[in-house]
């Protein structure tokens, strides 16, 4: 049956229109207004690259936000993906109770960020928090540390809120590992490969594209991370845990500086596109192994 081009276009048109209305046009507005001084009270005029220059030269808070965002993206795409991958490989051996373990490992990923924020605030509470109570019990003396609001521990504590909980990565890699053809593994076993050798030299390379996808998802999730930081430290103490999305939010809604906030939005888009392209290249995502 020949598919008529006209019908194709008609069916795609509503979707394309909606995409243009909701994404393309607003993105265009964000891009254009990033070159403007646009504040509340009707202030709006073109300033060229002033916002960008201000961000990279004078704004120390921006430097801190970019640095934090970069570190978190790096940690998430290495440590977080690494933990999920190792867990997936362990579960792929179908040890006793592996299905229950798989479900338990997923739990933090299905809880909302708001609930997680409240849970962690209580776990790390300096007065009655679970962590301080455990340390006090084990050490035999009262231990109190303000994990979220001590400048020395705040960054690590916030990182802890998401770094270890690699349920999504685990599920994706596990699916990939389990779909490796059995005859390939059989051939490896016949050749005398051990379990670890099969994992590192056969399965891991074959799940390359899935790993690349997980790295993209993890890295770009840090370009969107907002709720957990807002609900726990709000970027503090000072700007120790400030990241770009939270800084964008504060700039637009607290400082009422929309032009500057849109500049940050453009930076986030550029960083996201760069991350996707770079990771695609690194993992050779367009190449197939079969």
């Amino acid at each position: 049956m020949r598919v008529k081009k006209r019908m194709m276009v008609c069916f795609l048109l509503p979707c394309i229109l909606l995409f243009a209305l909701i994404y393309l046009i607003p993105m265009g507005i964000v891009f254009v207004t990033s070159f403007c001084e646009w504040k509340s009270g009707g202030v709006f005029h073109f300033v060229g690259l002033h916002n960008y220059i201000e961000a990279f030269v004078n704004d120390t808070r921006m430097h801190q936000a970019l640095k934090n965002t970069g570190i978190w993206a790096l940690l998430q795409s290495t440590v977080h993906v690494g933990i999920g991958t190792i867990t997936a490989f362990i579960l792929s051996r179908k040890i006793k109770g592996w299905k229950i373990l798989r479900t338990i490992f997923m739990i933090p990923n299905v809880i909302s960020a708001a609930a997680l924020g409240v849970i962690f605030l209580n776990v790390f509470n300096p007065k009655y928090g679970l962590l301080n109570s455990m340390i006090s019990t084990l050490s035999g003396s009262t231990f109190s540390k303000n994990w979220y609001f001590d400048q020395n521990t705040a960054f690590l504590t916030v990182t802890w809120s998401w770094l270890l909980y690699a349920g999504l990565v685990m599920i994706l890699v596990l699916a990939g590992v389990m779909s490796v053809p059995e005859d390939v593994l059989e051939a490896a076993r016949i050749d005398g490969a051990s379990g670890l050798q099969i994992d590192f030299k056969i399965r891991l390379p074959l799940v390359r594209t899935i790993l690349g996808t997980c790295v993209i998802i993890s890295a770009t999730s840090m370009l969107r991370e907002f709720e957990l930081i807002y609900l726990t430290t709000n970027g503090g103490p000072g700007d120790t845990t400030l990241n770009l999305p939270l800084y964008l939010y504060k700039t637009s809604l607290t400082d009422n500086n929309y032009g500057y906030a849109n500049m940050m939005g453009v930076l986030l888009i550029i960083l996201g596109i760069f991350a996707v392209f770079a990771i695609n290249k690194l993992f050779r995502m367009s190449e197939s192994d079969y």
Partner: protein, 441 residues
């Protein structure tokens, strides 16, 4: 025939897809009927559908555990009964003052402010007055005279009225007299040196002196900070100055130093990073002896769900050392209606909510001090009377930081407090950080 039929089906499918996508974008809340809770939107409908019923959009944070919930629900019911044939108030419930302010800011940025706004004291007038209605033509002389001048001042900018006041901000601090007696303290401190000496006595008696917080706007802590700043004439002037840009003053830095000392020695472990609720809870559980807050807290002292029986008998109120009291107008109801019809409806609603009757109810139910000078009652908590008496005796009267300072300074203060508290910045650096934030405006 078959081909023609397929074409018709194809066109119909395209049409259905387009309509469903576009209607999803343009959905409006058109609920009618009796008062009901649909998610977090409450639609109160008078019931009689004769004639055109005008909807008044009013988001509010007077829900859940807010001390004003009971009062608001009472007033809303009374308004519905009186205006059942004319108006329908569409209430959107937003729990928490900060969440409410954030929502209004989002609505402002998309030019879709609701008809009526009430922030509970947060100053949004300076940043949003370009979308608010200038209410000056609608406030006649009689109305103006009935409410104290300080209340109109805080709701006005450049001679134009942007808010209709309904309450006065009268704030001192509450203390637990039983805990004071246990520490050998007979009466509240007259100077800040005496205050710190009393804190030492409380500590020696095994009692944590003060409830403090840093999260959100660090309300409890900032009330103490403001009272410390106002210890002299210059400080009092500063705490009555709208939108200050320079915090590098001697009074501010000295006060920040005292706050640092309080954080480091005289408050609970969960104060740093803690919210108002943590501080209030510590006071209710008698883990702290002192809390700075306004008379709206008094109803909680009698609430069996929050405190033990007899708690209210242990509580007294005091002026801050130096006879300083927060004693000012409070930001009231703002209107942002876009049509004449909506404006009239909103005005009627606001007039009702700020009427003498409503203010009397508010005084009796919540303890909040009315803006109208002639509204008094014998049916109020004794502590409220004490607070009012203190406000009349105060030597220095100041306004609170949420009403005076830039919004980004209020946000900045809550992320700088933990650094100040833990000695990671000096009081001078604290002042500089706030100055930098203010200069962005």
């Amino acid at each position: 025939m078959k081909r023609g039929f397929r074409k018709v089906v194809g066109v119909l499918l395209i049409g259905v897809m387009a309509i469903s996508m576009l209607s999803g974008c343009g959905a409006k809340n058109n609920e009618t009927g009796n008062k009901s809770n649909t998610g977090n939107t409450q639609v109160s409908d008078g019931g009689n559908e004769s004639g055109k019923i005008i909807e008044i959009n009013f988001p509010t944070s007077w829900v859940g555990v807010s001390s004003s919930t009971e009062w608001f629900n009472d007033r809303l019911k009374a308004f519905n009964e009186q205006y059942s044939d004319k108006y329908k108030v569409v209430v959107e419930e937003i729990a928490g003052d900060q969440a409410y302010v954030d929502k209004i800011k989002v609505l402002y940025s998309s030019k879709s402010l609701p008809d009526v706004i009430s922030t509970g004291g947060y100053n949004l007038i300076d940043s949003m007055k370009d979308q608010m209605v200038d209410l000056t033509p609608y406030v006649d002389d009689q109305w103006k005279k009935s409410i104290s001048e300080v209340c109109w001042d805080v709701n006005s900018r450049d001679g134009s009225i942007y808010g209709i006041p309904y309450s006065r901000q009268v704030i001192g601090y509450f203390y637990n007299k039983d805990l004071f007696e246990k520490a050998g303290i007979k009466e509240p401190a007259k100077t800040w040196d005496e205050f710190f000496a009393q804190c030492d006595k409380l500590l020696a008696a095994g009692i944590t002196p003060v409830s403090m917080d840093t999260a959100d706007s660090g309300w409890l802590t900032s009330l103490l900070l403001g009272a410390m700043i106002a210890s002299n004439d210059e400080g009092e002037t500063f705490m009555n100055t709208s939108l200050p840009k320079n915090y590098n003053t001697k009074e501010f830095i000295d006060a920040a130093g005292m706050i640092q000392k309080l954080f480091q020695n005289y408050t609970t472990q969960d104060a740093i990073g803690g919210k108002y609720e943590n501080g209030a809870s510590n006071f209710f559980m008698e883990q702290t002896a002192i809390i700075a807050n306004g008379p709206w807290m008094i109803s909680d002292f009698y609430d069996a769900n929050m405190v033990e029986e007899g708690f209210s008998d242990k509580i007294k109120t005091a002026m801050f050392p130096g006879d300083v009291m927060y004693n000012s107008g409070k930001i009231g109801f703002n209107i942002a209606s876009k049509s004449e019809e909506q404006l009239k409806a909103s005005l009627d609603f606001v007039k009702f909510m700020t009427s003498a009757d409503s203010q009397l109810k508010m005084l009796e139910m919540t303890g909040e001090i009315p803006a109208e000078v002639n509204v008094t009652s014998d049916n109020i908590y004794p502590l409220v009377t004490e607070v009012i008496e203190n406000s009349n005796k105060a030597a220095r009267n100041i306004n609170d930081f949420q009403s005076l300072w830039y919004a980004n300074v209020v946000d900045e203060i809550s992320i700088q407090y933990p650094l100040l508290a833990q000695g990671q910045i000096t009081p001078e650096e604290f002042a500089t950080a706030l100055t930098k934030a203010a200069e962005k405006n």
